[in-house]
Point group: C2
Chain length 116, copies 2
C-alpha cells in the first residue's frame, strides 16, 4: 500500500492533535516565535492548565517540543511532523489521480472508428 509510510498511531496523534482550533493556533504561534507556555496561555480564554494540556497533546504528536529556560518552558514548533502529515495527504491525492488516469484510459480505449 502506498499510504503506509508512517506508523499508524503516529499519524493518529498528528491528525488528532490538529483537530482542535486552539492547538492549531498554538502551533502557528510557536512557529512565528518560540514562546513559553504561560505566554501562550495568555492568548486564550481558558485556564493555564488547559493550555498546558493542549501543549502536551501537541508534544505527544511531535508537533512541538519543550525546552526549559529557567522557570519557563519554551515551546518550539517542529514542522517535521506537519510536513509528514502534508505528504500523507498528498499520497491520497496521488491515489485519486491514479484512479482518474485509470478511468481515463478505460474511456479512451474505445475501438477505433466509433466516432461519428
Amino acid at each position: 500500500m502506498v499510504v503506509h509510510e508512517l506508523d499508524e498511531t503516529e499519524i493518529d496523534r498528528i491528525f488528532q492533535a490538529m483537530a482542535d482550533a486552539t492547538r492549531r493556533d498554538i502551533i502557528k504561534q510557536a512557529m512565528l516565535r518560540e514562546q513559553s507556555v504561560s505566554e501562550l496561555a495568555k492568548r486564550y480564554v481558558m485556564s493555564f492548565a488547559a493550555v498546558q494540556k493542549h501543549v502536551a497533546v501537541l508534544e505527544r504528536a511531535s508537533l512541538v517540543t519543550k525546552q526549559r529556560r529557567g522557570r519557563e518552558q519554551i515551546v518550539q514548533a517542529n514542522p517535521e511532523s506537519l510536513r509528514r502529515a502534508a505528504r500523507l495527504l498528498e499520497a491520497y491525492e496521488d491515489i485519486w489521480r491514479e484512479r482518474a488516469n485509470r478511468i481515463g484510459e478505460i474511456l479512451s480505449n474505445q475501438p477505433e472508428g466509433t466516432e461519428p
Copy 2:
C-alpha cells in the same frame, strides 16, 4: 491571519475524521473504487454498525458522500476536502518558511531597503 481560509469547525471535522486508521483506510478504499457500506464493512473486524458510524464521521467531514443504489448505499470519496486539508498544512509550512527567511535576514545583518 493567513491560516484562516476555512471555517474552523469544518477543519476540526476533517482532521478529526482523519485521526483514525480505519477511517483513513475507508477513504483510500473509496478512492480506489466506489463501494457499498457493507462491502467496505467486510474488510474490517468490527461490526457493520461501527463501520457505518465511521462512514458517517467521514460524511460529516465531507470526505465522502453516499448515494443510494437500490438497497445499497454507495460510498464515494470526495477528494476536495482532502485537498483543503493538504493546503492548510502547506500554509503552516509557509509560515515556517517565512520565519526562516526572517531569521536569515536578521543573521545576515542586511536591513532591507537600505540600497540606493
